[in-house]
């Protein structure tokens, strides 16, 4: 047993709360907490008071009332008799659509520009530098507005396509670029399995996914075979067949056919109509974010020391293999975290849709719905929550990926 050697305590004095480091942090936290609670209660009581003065209450019932406005851009069924909640859902899907398209194109552009900026070719690297600096230093809003103005004011009207000798012709006879938007061919089903088009496409996606899974199993099997016998079986025609045939059979069964846009009356009909607002937003977001991603990719590749390349060459690896097996896996670790935040930025920036009238969630839930029902508080709260949840989801998903590629230190 140890003996007590400390001098007997003199009891607790109030001044210890401030001067004794053991207690001081507690004091500071408690004071901070009290101040924060006071601030919150002040804000909430103000809000309640103000709402009472205006004769409003706090109620999300408006979400189930008919909206009474139309949305031109939609992926799911909606009409002006649908509820505000449905309108918000249409907006959410539109936001997710443009964010997804934007992230995909921005990554492609960014990787190409980032790699080309490191090119030995002086002209190419300078051109990419101009692209990156040009887009990074000018507000995104300006790009969106400019591309939208270009799309609506310098493209031909549908009437220009009419007649024997039209002023404009369709690109490859299937794409029509007009001032009302771009018309591209669509795939329709003659004998669909489901009434709802969404489920048909889901079925196609499921079959395609199963094919890809099968291909992966096949490659795995080939690798095992190679490790056991030393010879890799030829698999490319199996892979090709697996990729194409099941989906093709399904498409034929459902009676898939191309719906090519054509001039009908005063406007184009058929195909998919991509509105100028969507295209302007998509291109501007991708080009702008692509410039940032280019810098991230360049930084990531530069962060891998040159010795790694030299070591790989010394082992006799070819440049392509070196890039795939040595450089990229290491660069990915540096690239992924900032790439996540660029995806998040792009998603949040898609709210600039307001500039071109694209009906994203901010325009439906945070715009027309609020204006019609006068529920600013509830609407903005839901809107903020949506973006917050979306951001946390994206960063959560990317962090899981990040954890799987990061350096395993033991």
């Amino acid at each position: 047993m140890t003996t007590m050697t400390d001098p007997p305590g003199r009891g607790f004095r109030l001044s210890q709360l401030i001067y004794d480091t053991r207690y001081r942090s507690m004091t500071i936290q408690v004071v901070a907490m009290i101040l924060l609670m006071l601030l919150f209660s002040w804000l909430v009581s103000n809000t309640i008071h103000n709402l009472q003065n205006l004769g409003k209450d706090f109620d999300f019932g408006f979400l189930s009332q008919p909206s009474g406005y139309d949305i031109n851009q939609r992926l799911i069924d909606y009409n002006s008799q649908s509820t505000h909640g449905r309108a918000a859902l249409v907006g959410i899907i539109n936001t997710v659509l443009v964010a997804f398209l934007g992230c995909a194109l921005a990554t492609i552009l960014g990787v190409i520009a980032g790699v080309l900026r490191l090119s030995n070719n002086w002209l190419v690297s300078r051109l990419m530098a101009v692209y990156v600096e040009g887009f990074r230093n000018v507000p995104l809003l300006l790009w969106i507005v400019l591309i939208f103005a270009l799309m609506t004011e310098s493209t031909p009207a549908p009437s220009a396509f009419r007649g024997e000798n039209p002023d404009s012709t369709m690109l490859f006879d299937v794409f029509a670029i007009t001032n009302r938007g771009v018309y591209i061919p669509a795939i329709h089903f003659g004998t669909p399995f489901f009434d709802n088009g969404f489920f048909n496409w889901l079925l196609v996606l499921i079959v395609l996914g199963a094919s890809i899974f099968g291909i992966q199993r096949l490659r795995h099997w080939a690798t095992e075979k190679q490790e056991a016998t030393g010879a890799r079986p030829t698999t490319w025609y199996f892979i090709l067949g697996l990729l194409v045939i099941p989906t093709a059979i399904l498409m034929v069964l459902m009676g898939a056919f191309w719906d090519i846009p054509s001039l009908q009356g005063f406007n184009f009909g058929g195909g998919i109509h991509l509105r100028n607002s969507l295209i302007a937003l998509w291109l501007a977001l991708s080009l702008y974010t692509g410039a940032f991603i280019a810098e991230i990719v360049r930084g990531g590749i530069l962060a891998v020391s040159k010795g790694q390349t030299e070591a790989a060459y010394a082992l006799g690896l070819r440049p392509g293999t070196t890039m795939n097996l040595v450089i990229l896996p290491q660069a990915m670790r540096v690239i992924i975290p900032p790439l996540i935040s660029q995806f998040l930025n792009l998603t949040k920036n898609s709210s600039l849709a307001i500039a071109v009238g694209y009906m994203d969630v901010r325009s439906t839930l945070g715009g027309i719905t609020i204006n019609q029902t006068g529920r600013e508080l509830e609407g903005m709260l839901l809107l903020g929550l949506f973006y917050l949840v979306l951001s946390l989801l994206i960063s959560g998903a990317m962090n899981i990926y990040n954890a799987s590629v990061k350096l395993k230190e033991r």
């Binding site: 190419v124 709210s351 508080l377 917050l388």
Partner: protein, 438 residues
């Protein structure tokens, strides 16, 4: 081997070969072109494609911009002049829209006879910011930087001079309390008092004091409302205020996030994540639609002030994350060394940790500032007339209906100049502060 003798060597050099230039393929422009442009067939292809891109871009842009028409009253007149000079349908710019609306794009609807005030304010601002940016200037100039915000406010918004003076007195008061009362009642009490006294002064004394002084000695400028401020002036005011205010707030938030104190840590994390998770445009709408709900009934303050507050909070959350990265990048030994010297928390932060952490985070901080400056264009959505809002208004007017390239090129170039120079300054600062030997 014995047969091999020195004498049997068949050739001995007896004269030096003259030094010669390296072969043409190994030096000068030829080598450079060969290595940088034509080293392989892929490279040749890339070079040809780039040359073509450059040619297409320049051959369209240069004649268009250089032959532009500078004086006309409307787009129709511009086209008439163009048809007269270059023939119908030639593609030339109509810069007349810039020369006609130049003042509007710069100042918005600020009264034209008072343009000297923002111009003077801009000069004062440059003079005030110079000693902060460049350490080689005399340090005494920093006093000017301290006074400048009040002078700038007075110059731009006008009104009685006593208002900014009374507000400034509050800071002097706080400093005086810290300086003289602090030693008497202990450090912590001094800090608390230095915060409480000025706040009480601003709440209860500053208003009457300014009113009294204005009544006794009416010195002032003609007041200009916030609604009249627009264009690049608005963008600069919001951007610069946001930048200056968000840096200290961001640092405090970063320290809070790194702190061991549970409640403070969690509060900082929630604040940062919530602010960063929602687009700025939603915050701006919150500021314009909802802020009045949260404040006591009857409170109504300037929309521009609300925007500045929102922009500041927004970018401080981003800066907090950047600074946190800097704090985390410091070796643990630096913290331990500060503790070993017996420094308390604030002293160790101020003298050892923060200078290094901030140096590491300079690129990130400047990037955030550039982003903030570009984001000032978003205020167009809540009805403030920033450059893009003005360009929309100009495009909607009957004279200039249908014009877009010229306006967008001009606005884009202005932003480019601002943002690009900020980026270059950050590179300069990084180079200056580099301490490692390389």
């Amino acid at each position: 081997m014995s047969e091999v003798h020195a004498q049997t060597v068949a050739y001995v050099r007896d004269s030096m070969v003259e030094q010669r230039e390296p072969p043409l393929s190994q030096s000068g422009a030829y080598k450079w072109i060969h290595e940088n442009l034509l080293s392989s067939w892929v490279n040749v292809l890339l070079t040809i494609v780039s040359l073509w891109v450059i040619w297409v871009a320049l051959s369209h842009v240069i004649p268009w911009a250089a032959l532009g028409i500078w004086s006309a009253d409307s787009l129709a007149q511009c086209r008439e002049i163009r048809d007269e000079i270059y023939g119908a349908g030639a593609s030339v710019a109509c810069w007349a829209v810039i020369s006609e609306r130049w003042n509007q794009l710069l100042f918005g609807f600020y009264p034209p006879e008072l343009y000297w005030r923002p111009v003077l304010a801009f000069v004062v601002f440059l003079a005030a910011i110079a000693p902060v940016l460049f350490a080689s200037l005399p340090r005494k100039m920093l006093w000017g930087s301290v006074v400048a915000p009040f002078a700038l406010f007075w110059l731009i918004w006008g009104g009685s001079i006593w208002m900014p003076v009374a507000v400034a007195l509050g800071f002097v008061l706080g400093w005086a309390v810290l300086r003289f009362a602090g030693p008497a009642i202990g450090a912590l009490g001094g800090v608390v008092l230095a915060i409480v006294v000025p706040v009480l002064y601003w709440l209860f004394l500053a208003g009457p004091l300014a009113g009294g002084l204005a009544a006794a000695l009416p010195i002032g400028l003609e007041p200009v409302g916030s609604n009249d401020i627009g264009g690049f002036m608005l963008a600069t005011i919001i951007g610069v205020s946001g930048i200056i205010l968000s840096l200290p707030l961001g640092i405090v938030l970063a320290l809070g996030r790194q702190s061991d104190l549970f409640i403070i840590n969690k509060c900082s994390v929630i604040f940062i994540e919530v602010i960063r998770g929602v687009p700025l445009i939603v915050w701006l709408f919150t500021a314009s639609l909802l802020l009045n709900y949260f404040l006591p009934p009857g409170t109504n303050f300037d929309l521009m002030l609300r925007v500045i507050i929102m922009v500041t909070l927004f970018s401080s959350a981003y800066i907090a994350e950047v600074v946190r990265g800097g704090l985390a990048a410091l070796p643990k030994g630096q913290y331990e060394a500060a503790d070993a010297l017996g420094l308390d928390y604030w002293k160790s932060m101020r003298l050892i940790i923060l200078p290094q952490a901030l140096k590491i985070s300079i690129p990130g901080i400047v990037n955030t500032f550039i982003g903030l400056f570009k984001d000032t264009t978003l205020v167009v959505f809540i009805g403030l007339l920033d450059p893009i809002g003005l360009s929309n208004a100009i495009r909607a007017s009957t004279e200039w209906n249908g014009i877009y390239w010229e306006l967008f090129v001009f606005i884009g170039l202005c932003f480019f100049v601002f943002c690009f120079s900020m980026g270059r300054y950050s590179l300069f600062l990084e180079k200056k502060l580099r301490r490692e030997h390389r």
